[in-house]
């Protein structure tokens, strides 16, 4: 019996939504356990609070103003560090970049992870001695750094470590005072739009440079389902993507007028097609350690003469990728026949973001290029490559900021958590659909964060009293 369409559509979206949900759940649990209601959390001195340190007695206007200033300063710092990293990449200090990223990942896992573990030990009164704890922590952090950056490990391990890194960074951010958190989120969302869609965005330039040079950008990206084992031709591959070794990492197909960058499409060798220099490779787009925003504009490459690109997914559920499907139906032409060459859809990477101390990562998805012009059907029918893994990639910065929003919502009540969760997942879905439709790099933060913030305030101010009033009178609808 043929498998129904219902069993395969939507798989990659679910494979991205699941780790995002897990990360959010972990952050909510941590926040709920470690910051009980009513306790005053001493705000930590961070770079985000250089300008204004919120005190409970300040008036609303002062808090808003101070938070706004903090947000602006933070965004400026992120932008400066992004440019610094771009400069490092430009001058080919890749080793420096990699060492820095490994170091910051280690710091996150060891120091922040250690702090969280100590708090948990205190809370649950777990009997453990310092030496054991130290050894376990060092091992945990080391394995994490190796799994994420340097070696090929079972994908679950890499994914798990990425989620843990995102969770730790998000938990650290929730310690910021309230108004600063909200203004920070909104500022980062606005900055994301500008960095991705504006012509002088640092991430755009970085990606463009990486594409023209055909090099990887080391970064932290969560990859949903890599298929093929990575081979390491030259510099060690980055993060969690597993791509095959190909002579070129990016496809250069000329400069289409509206976008400067080409999609890097990974392809697997599993289909046994000959890989020549025109074939495509997954971009191991990650974020360089540091405050950096990377956005990728992507473009559909032209097909190689061999015709069908694609890679076979390991997972058995995917025969037709969702975004492939969306694109193909919207474009009105035939998607790649999965019986011949099982393709699924990676989206092209919209944006990757990096953060020095926190190693944020961004939404990087690899897009399956779909040409929407009917005229170019023949040219492009074979051409649209897919990521090697055929899976979506999401930068870790998005994990972090989504979880920060939900963690801050958890500090009020669980109802806001549910509302914000639905808003964020809805925003993520909308972003992915826009990506499939517009086929250019899209920042992952703005829609989700704005929906999340709107839903948070609506829920807290309006819906919560309404629902609680009804529920305590036991009147339901």
């Amino acid at each position: 019996m043929e498998k129904a369409i219902l069993e395969s559509v939507g798989g990659e979206i679910v494979s991205i939504v699941t780790p995002v949900s897990i990360c959010m759940l972990l952050v909510v649990l941590l926040v709920h356990t470690l910051t009980p209601h009513g306790s005053v959390v001493a705000p930590i001195a961070t770079v985000a609070m250089m300008v204004y340190s919120e005190k409970p007695n300040d008036s609303l206007f002062e808090k808003l103003r101070g938070g706004f200033l903090n947000g602006i300063i933070f965004v400026c710092i992120v932008m400066i560090v992004t440019f610094v990293l771009f400069g490092l990449f430009y001058f080919r200090f890749t080793k420096c970049l990699r060492v820095y990223m490994g170091f910051s990942a280690f710091m996150v896992l060891a120091w922040m992870g250690g702090t969280v573990m100590v708090e948990l030990i205190q809370f649950f009164s777990i009997p453990i001695d310092v030496i054991t704890f130290g050894i376990c922590l060092i091992n945990f952090a080391s394995v994490g750094v190796i799994a994420v950056f340097f070696c090929q490990m079972p994908i679950v391990l890499t994914q798990g470590y990425l989620v843990v890194i995102g969770m730790l960074v998000a938990f650290w951010f929730t310690k910021l005072p309230e108004w600063t958190t909200w203004t920070l989120l909104i500022s980062m969302a606005v900055y994301d739009i500008m960095a991705v869609l504006a012509p002088v965005g640092p991430l755009k330039m970085l990606l463009e440079l990486a594409m023209t040079r055909d090099e990887e950008i080391p970064a932290l990206i969560y990859e949903a389902r890599p298929v093929l084992p990575r081979q390491m031709p030259g510099p060690p591959p980055t993060s969690s993507s597993s791509t095959t070794v190909q002579p070129r990492r990016w496809s250069h197909l000329g400069a289409p007028p509206h976008s400067l960058l080409n999609i890097a499409i990974g392809r697997g060798n599993s289909a046994g097609l000959n890989v020549d220099s025109d074939n495509f490779q997954t971009s191991n787009l990650g974020t360089v350690g540091g405050h950096e925003l990377m956005n990728f504009v992507t473009e559909p490459p032209i097909a190689p003469e061999a015709g069908l690109l694609g890679s076979r997914l390991v997972s058995s559920t995917e025969d037709a990728g969702t975004l492939n499907s969306v694109s193909s139906v919207l474009a009105g032409h035939q998607p790649i026949d999965p019986n011949v060459d099982e393709d699924t859809v990676p989206l092209v990477n919209p944006g990757t973001r990096n953060m020095a101390a926190v190693d944020r990562m961004e939404l990087g998805t690899q897009m399956q290029p779909r040409d929407l012009d009917e005229d170019e059907l023949e040219r492009n029918d074979e051409g649209f490559g897919l990521g090697v893994s055929g899976a979506l990639k999401l930068g870790l910065g998005d994990f972090v900021f989504y979880s920060v929003l939900v963690g801050r919502a958890a500090m009020y009540d669980l109802m806001t958590v549910y509302a914000c969760y639905l808003a964020i997942v809805g925003g993520l879905g909308a972003t992915l659909i826009l990506l499939a439709v517009w086929r250019r790099a899209m920042p992952a933060l703005p829609i989700s964060i704005s929906l999340g913030v709107v839903f948070y305030f609506l829920t807290r101010l309006i819906m919560d009293p309404f629902v609680v009033d009804l529920a305590t009178h036991l009147v339901f609808f």
């Binding site: 369409i5 669980l414 879905g429 009293p465 009147v475």
Partner: protein, 255 residues
């Protein structure tokens, strides 16, 4: 009443939803997305209702009557809008299926999508009305309200949540079937049953009313379940005229 009690209340409210999710929905990613999408739509309708009525609450007891009527009206309108969206999605899925040489959507697929949509509504309802109240239930004490001294608030809310979850889930199945086949009786049945169940919860406002209110809600849920079951039975049973529809036949095979 400690973690055990809290977990127990949560399972009463959400246990059937959880098992429905695991058996029907978890294996199909599209249905998971449907659950999330319809939960979000229900949330939006709830926020719209809240904006409308926020200024009037907390108010006199009689305000609940127009509130319930308008709110149920809004939710049924949202259900119709959701149906229109579903038609577009179904069209899209069929087009996609044609392109990738897969069979078109059959009756069981459509029923599954209807169950997923209804479950999204039901889970959203249970989560917002019941689960968010349960946070104190994990603590050391319990809570009774004045009009219901027989059962803790959490227990009543859990049962009502369960009733409404089943009601929402299966009324969506009935509604999809009715709107697709243009069956007027069932089309009317859904909003009427929803309104009845809501108005019956007002019995809880009377002192001691929850003794009657909870069983009545559960009876409404069971009636809805029975009607939905009969519809599905007719559609997929061995005597069904649409039996051929059930087989996923490849377009080129001769099955």
């Amino acid at each position: 009443m400690t973690e055990v009690g809290g977990t127990g209340y949560a399972l009463i409210a959400l246990g059937p939803a959880f098992s429905l999710f695991l058996t029907v929905i978890a294996s199909k990613p599209f249905l998971i997305l449907t659950v999330l999408g319809s939960a979000m739509m229900w949330l939006v309708s709830l926020i719209a209702c809240a904006i409308l009525w926020r200024a009037f609450l907390p108010g006199a007891v009689w305000t609940f009557l127009p509130l319930l009527i308008t709110v149920v009206g809004i939710q049924e309108a949202v259900r119709l809008y959701y149906w229109c969206l579903y038609l577009k999605v179904e069209h899209f899925l069929n087009k996609l299926a044609a392109k990738v040489s897969k069979p078109q959507l059959v009756a069981t697929d459509k029923i599954q999508i209807a169950i997923a949509s209804g479950l999204g509504h039901g889970i959203a309802h249970s989560v917002f009305f019941c689960l968010s109240l349960l946070t104190p239930a994990f603590g050391p004490a319990t809570y009774y309200i004045d009009s219901c001294v027989h059962m803790p608030l959490f227990l009543v809310a859990a049962f009502m949540g369960l009733g409404f979850l089943l009601l929402h889930t299966f009324s969506m199945v009935i509604a999809f079937n009715a709107l697709a086949g243009d069956k007027h009786f069932h089309q009317l049945f859904v909003p009427v049953m929803h309104l009845c169940a809501s108005l019956l919860t007002m019995v809880n406002l009377l002192p001691g009313g929850c003794i009657a209110g909870v069983p009545m809600t559960l009876i409404c849920a069971v009636v809805t379940l029975a009607v939905a079951g009969k519809i599905v039975w007719d559609k997929t049973g061995t005597g069904s005229a649409e039996l051929g529809n059930l087989q996923r036949v490849h377009s080129s095979s001769s099955l």
